[in-house]
């Protein structure tokens, strides 16, 4: 019953959110602030994690593919496939759920408990539209850019790892990266990313917007936002994989 109530509240909030902004100029300004806050500020963490995860995957592939019958360029190929199909879109989205999701929930939650949302409402502004829509839009536009960046950095990390350790020659690794290119794989990854970006921003916005109480409740809402977003990302990963790859 509680879950149904939450889903109902979420749908109602989204109906309020997806309305025409009161003023286009103000919306665009808010959108650019959120590009910076939610997107540009996440480049560092995405780059760092992608670089190391790419390197680790390449080394693990080399460890697992030790048979002389298997061509060494497969290490590059499997690293590429893992980065594009799963690591970059899903794992990076989970990391962004932690970073961006908690930020959205706590920002909006603090505005709720300090009556800033009430102030917007009494001015005649639709607070859900003003606060949540730019965040959803910014995430859905910027996260795919971050994920493509993550793919590139991850593959570079793999190349650096094999170059330094010498487990496979960099040339073989690059041949593997270039083998059997399937543009649809990128499209699949980007579709997943856009869906995950919507989940992160909207679910976190919901938990922040519906906070009642004080600072402790804002903290709880932030945790709930990250946990719920992460669970939904994994569930939708399975659903989208079934729909798009099988």
């Amino acid at each position: 019953m509680g879950l149904l109530h939450t889903i109902g509240d979420y749908v109602v909030l989204m109906a309020q959110t997806f309305k025409r902004p009161d003023k286009g100029k103000v919306f665009r300004k808010q959108l650019f602030i959120d590009f910076q806050h939610l997107g540009v500020d996440s480049i560092g963490i995405v780059a760092f994690i992608s670089l190391f995860v790419g390197a680790i995957i390449a080394m693990q592939m080399a460890y697992n593919i030790s048979s002389p019958l298997v061509p060494l360029y497969l290490i590059g190929y499997t690293t590429k496939q893992m980065m594009i199909l799963e690591i970059s879109p899903t794992i990076m989205s989970l990391i962004l759920a932690g970073k961006v999701g908690s930020s959205i929930a706590s920002e909006i939650g603090t505005m709720r408990v300090t009556e800033q949302i009430d102030a917007l409402k009494v001015m005649g502004i639709n607070p859900a539209n003003y606060l949540i829509l730019p965040k959803i839009t910014a995430s859905m536009i910027y996260n795919p850019i971050l994920i493509v960046f993550s793919m590139v950095i991850g593959l570079f990390g793999g190349w650096v790892a094999v170059s330094i350790t010498g487990i496979v020659s960099p040339v073989d690794f690059v041949i593997g990266l270039q083998a059997w290119p399937v543009p649809y794989d990128i499209a699949y990854a980007l579709i997943k990313t856009v869906v995950f970006a919507f989940i992160i921003a909207s679910v976190s916005g919901y938990f922040g917007y519906t906070v009642k109480g004080g600072s402790v409740d804002v903290g709880r809402a932030s945790t709930k936002a990250v946990v719920s977003s992460s669970i939904l990302i994994i569930i939708f990963d399975l659903i989208l994989t079934q729909m798009l790859l099988t």
Partner: protein
């Protein structure tokens, strides 16, 4: 003028307001007083439309708020200025951006004109050279002044203040009271102030309603309140040694 007619409001089956009716007069400071939990904040939130009433009406110069269509409701809201208890300034905006916010949202003024208006209202609330400061850098009194400036930026017809001097020292509280009172006369606003501060009551209470246990218990002005024989109101008004001395 704001007419409140037979308002009922409950939360989860608990009755908070019962049959409250009153009139908040134009050009006057109308005070709602009562103990914590008496229902005065709920009454104010019903008036500004943050809570929907279960029964009854709030009428703004002949316009019943609950019966207005969304567009009319929105335009009526633009005639309201609200000063929240904590100021409710937007943390990520500077003082200037906070005051300019309603102008950005609802007017097509050129930037220079908006800037001029912002400077005018900030000057009016005695805040000069604070335009670029952020809410976190302001004192309690300054926060209230900025919130008042934002509330009057659009020349509102109705000003609502929720405990405007809570958390302020007596001197600053008095200055804020005076400022609200002066602005009310200057802009000819219908000002509704929610307070439990007896200094405010005695200083600016042109009309006063006493809310107790969710009901309208008493109505009068700052002179009458000292002479009332209403036992509940007396208990509230003369709860402190200072007010008991004033009575003696």
């Amino acid at each position: 003028m704001i007419e409140v007619k037979n308002i009922f409001k409950s939360f989860d089956g608990q009755q908070v307001l019962t049959d409250v009716s009153t009139v908040f007069e134009e050009g006057k400071t109308n005070l709602i007083i009562g103990q914590s939990g008496s229902g005065k904040t709920v009454l104010m939130k019903c008036c500004i439309g943050l809570f929907n009433v279960d029964e009854g009406e709030v009428i703004f110069d002949g316009r019943c708020f609950s019966e207005l269509k969304e567009k009319k409701k929105k335009s009526t809201r633009k005639e309201m200025g609200v000063l929240f208890q904590g100021g409710a300034l937007f943390d990520s905006y500077s003082v200037e951006e906070n005051v300019m916010f309603p102008l950005n949202m609802f007017t097509k003024m050129p930037f220079e004109e908006k800037q001029e208006r912002v400077n005018d209202v900030l000057k009016r609330v005695n805040l000069i050279n604070a335009n670029k400061k952020f809410p976190a850098e302001l004192s309690g009194g300054m926060t209230k002044r900025v919130a008042i400036a934002r509330a009057i930026a659009m020349n509102p017809k109705y000003l609502f203040c929720d405990e405007p001097n809570s958390g302020l020292d007596p001197k600053t509280a008095e200055l804020i009271d005076e400022l609200i009172s002066d602005l009310t006369a200057e802009y000819n606003m219908t000002t509704v102030i929610n307070t439990h501060d007896m200094n405010s009551v005695l200083q600016i209470g042109q009309t006063i309603i006493f809310v107790n246990k969710g009901k309208l218990w008493w109505k009068g002005n700052k002179k009458e309140i000292l002479e009332t024989d209403n036992p509940e109101l007396n208990e509230f008004v003369f709860a402190t040694e200072l007010t008991r001395r004033i009575k003696r």
